[in-house]
Amino acid sequence: MRSLRLAALILLAAAQQASASGRLVARPVRLARRTASHAAQHMVMLPAGRYRPLYAPPGAERVAVAAFALDREPVTAGAFLAFVERHPEWRRDRVRRVFADARYLADWPAATDAGALGAQRRPVTQVSWFAARAYCASLGKRLPTVDEWEYAAAASERATDATADAAFRSRLLALYAGLGRQTAAAAFVNVYGVRAMHGVVWEWTLDFNSVVLDDDSRATGSGADARDRHLYCASAALGATDPSDYPAFLRHAVRAGLGARSSTSTVGFRCAADMVIS
């Protein structure tokens, strides 16, 4: 099993390296050695397990999450710059407007300039869901699902599921309150080896638009109104598996407030990947 995982990681890293350098075929042997360490450096494998979503499907409090790989850290501005250079259709001056709003990468000094080195090491923000997804796809990866992201985020430094721990919850709330003021480097590494899941940036998920607060909103004027109304009043808490899990509500609220084109200064992302067995 362990060797399978390692093989998967190597394959994934090879794909990553291939697309990064475009010269995979020329140096396969050297690459294999290099990419194993590259993968170990950038992604971790999370074992299959179960977690309790904020809104569980009827009849099951916990949902199963299959094993998957997740980036250790949020994608940096520097890494995103490299992507934009390889895929100019994602430059802020060339991107199709359906894929990103006007704030897309608007904080960069220029379309292919992500700023000084310090800025390049920080997690990239002001990227739309479409752009985040394209970045991951360019490396043979994908965005994590809400379930996967939450499953990984439930872990503290010592426990795989610390969500019921009151001290952990208070800590997350404090981290969220300071969002934007702490660096990824200073953020805690959880028991899986994943860093900065909380309080550095909010992160895109593949199915961020699966937040349905009301499946019958005909009575209200528009979808947006309905969303807001249900967020601001307490009805969103009805049916939650644990109404006292405030950090989970906050993350849920952020997802509910986003559109696929939204490029906001507080939202970044990291990539995930299936376990590839071949």
Binding site: P58, D207, D215, T220, L231, Y246, A253, S262
Partner: protein, 205 residues
């Protein structure tokens, strides 16, 4: 004592939540907010900066006759688009009947129903659904596609959906009015404003 601290945490959480929402909305302030008249105006003012067409999406669909279709093939006429699924018994029939009401009032607008449940809604199922409801093929197109294309379109339109049980989807019930270029003109989860469609016909002439 325990009670007080819980309350405090709750208030902090609530304050945070409101602050976050403000952040999130300010983040997409340049996006037209569906259904709101003011945002429609501001979106027009920004015209070239942030107007987008749903027809820019690369997606390949299959219609109820089994033919391959792109959304861009509807370019040129106003379109009312809803995302539904044929096994839906709750809100989708209401949306379809509202669209049929408009069909009787406006002879030129076209109707597109895109399935949120492509696994079960194949072309023949869509054809059956259309026939059952007497949806004329010349005006009504029912589309099914890949999961990824469905998710893209839903994300673009602001339609939120989730599989609740193997048989049921929860989804926002949103009808979108697209102009001749595929730009979102108005969105509603209630009655459709027929005058807005007439306006689109008028401006194009």
């Amino acid at each position: 004592m325990i009670h007080t601290s819980r309350l405090t945490v709750m208030w902090i959480a609530l304050a945070l939540l409101l602050a976050l929402l403000a952040l999130a909305t300010s983040g997409c302030a340049s996006q037209p907010i569906p259904g709101s008249r003011t945002s429609e105006r501001s979106a027009r003012a920004e015209d070239d900066v942030d107007r987008f067409s749903v027809y820019e999406l690369d997606a390949s669909w299959r219609d109820q006759s089994g033919a391959t279709r792109s959304l861009a093939s509807f370019r040129g006429s106003p379109v009312l688009l809803a995302m539904i699924y044929t096994h839906c018994t709750a809100t989708c029939p209401l949306a379809v009947s509202e669209l049929k009401r408009v069909a009787a009032l406006d002879p030129d607008v076209r109707f597109v129903l895109v399935s949120l449940d492509p696994a079960r809604d194949d072309a023949s199922r869509l054809a059956h659904y259309a026939a059952e409801r007497a949806l004329e093929p010349s005006r009504w197109t029912l589309l099914t596609g890949s999961d990824a294309d469905v998710r893209d379109l839903a994300a673009t339109l602001g339609v939120r959906f989730r599989q609740v049980t193997p048989d049921d989807l929860a989804h926002t019930n949103l009808i979108t009015l697209l102009d001749r270029e595929g730009r979102i003109t108005r969105q509603t989860s209630g009655p459709i404003d027929v005058a807005a469609i007439a306006e689109l016909h008028a401006t194009a002439r």
